[in-house]
Symmetry: C2
Amino acid sequence: MTGTRWLSADEQRSWRAYLAATKLLAAQLERELQRSKGFSHAYYDILVRLSEAPDRRLRMSDLADAADSSRSRLSHAVSRLEELGWVVRETCASDRRGAYANLTDAGFAALVDAAPSHVESVRTHLFDPLTPEDARRLGEICEKVVVALREHCPAEQPDGAQPDGARPGGTEPVPAGSAA
Amino acid sequence: MTGTRWLSADEQRSWRAYLAATKLLAAQLERELQRSKGFSHAYYDILVRLSEAPDRRLRMSDLADAADSSRSRLSHAVSRLEELGWVVRETCASDRRGAYANLTDAGFAALVDAAPSHVESVRTHLFDPLTPEDARRLGEICEKVVVALREHCPAEQPDGAQPDGARPGGTEPVPAGSAA
DNA sequence: TAAGTAATGTTCAACGCTCAACTACCAACG
DNA sequence: CGTTGGTAGTTGAGCGTTGAACATTACTTA
């Protein structure tokens, strides 16, 4: 009864490195963003998704999917962003259960303000230590993992976002669209 | 004044894939471990580190470093593990400020019980979608990132663990040492 | 030995996340 | 219509993390 497919020595080493890298990198980016701009990466991510959406607004569910977040978490987070004046909710006319989250000018400004230092953090701690080839491969590998995860749990995840893997949109820098 | 080194289109794509993959994978592993065994990956990690240590015990600080955890978080976590009967604290004779965390037989048994399904999760969601070559490269890339992060923040991190990057030890399977 | 500095570990308050209700609404079917 | 089932989003309790403050003990230097 030893059906377990244990990890090989190489796999274990990769796995440990993965665990350490992801944990340390996330903690470092969080710390730098928190110290320089006073808000979390979770907020940043929400602001980015909204900034990229048409009219800078998104249905709550779509925003949750875009940010790989649970609906509950998103609802709480949007409430806090509303208190900051960075997002406002708006009820949906066509489906009265629904709600839009709108990015305000102040929210957009906060994103514009935070982006440069955050991008610099990402570059410093992730891309600078890697060769361009490494970076490209990391992306490919992660895309494979994402595809597998999205199709592997069709009923467990917050929702079944299509396994795109190739969304355009600029992550860090502020996307197209005029400020203010 | 536009000193920001923005991400290229390729870099952005890699970065987004990285963000999605790490978030989804962590959530999936957490969910499966939680549902099948009822405890978190944070606990699992602590149990693993303790199980690998001589006499299955470690100073709190060393354990915090090994698990890439803050002292505060570790202290809380160990308290909870103590309530489960999986770890016991012991005051250190040679340094009376210090404390050891000892893995109990029950704690070791819990790890032995959880390991197979957890390893299966890791394999299913990470290694199965990848080629062996991918897995090897992922490990190399992560090791580079870890090295950079560890040397880049000598005064900010919980502690200054030496930039090893090549610790042996078996991660998932239960390491050498007799059970019970 | 006394004073100053550093390290270990715990505790507390604030905050965010999770999970399970819960409200409100839509849509289909009889 | 009225019912049933499913969807959108919110809420609240419980729990874990964070970061700072704290007590205690060790080390270093005069």
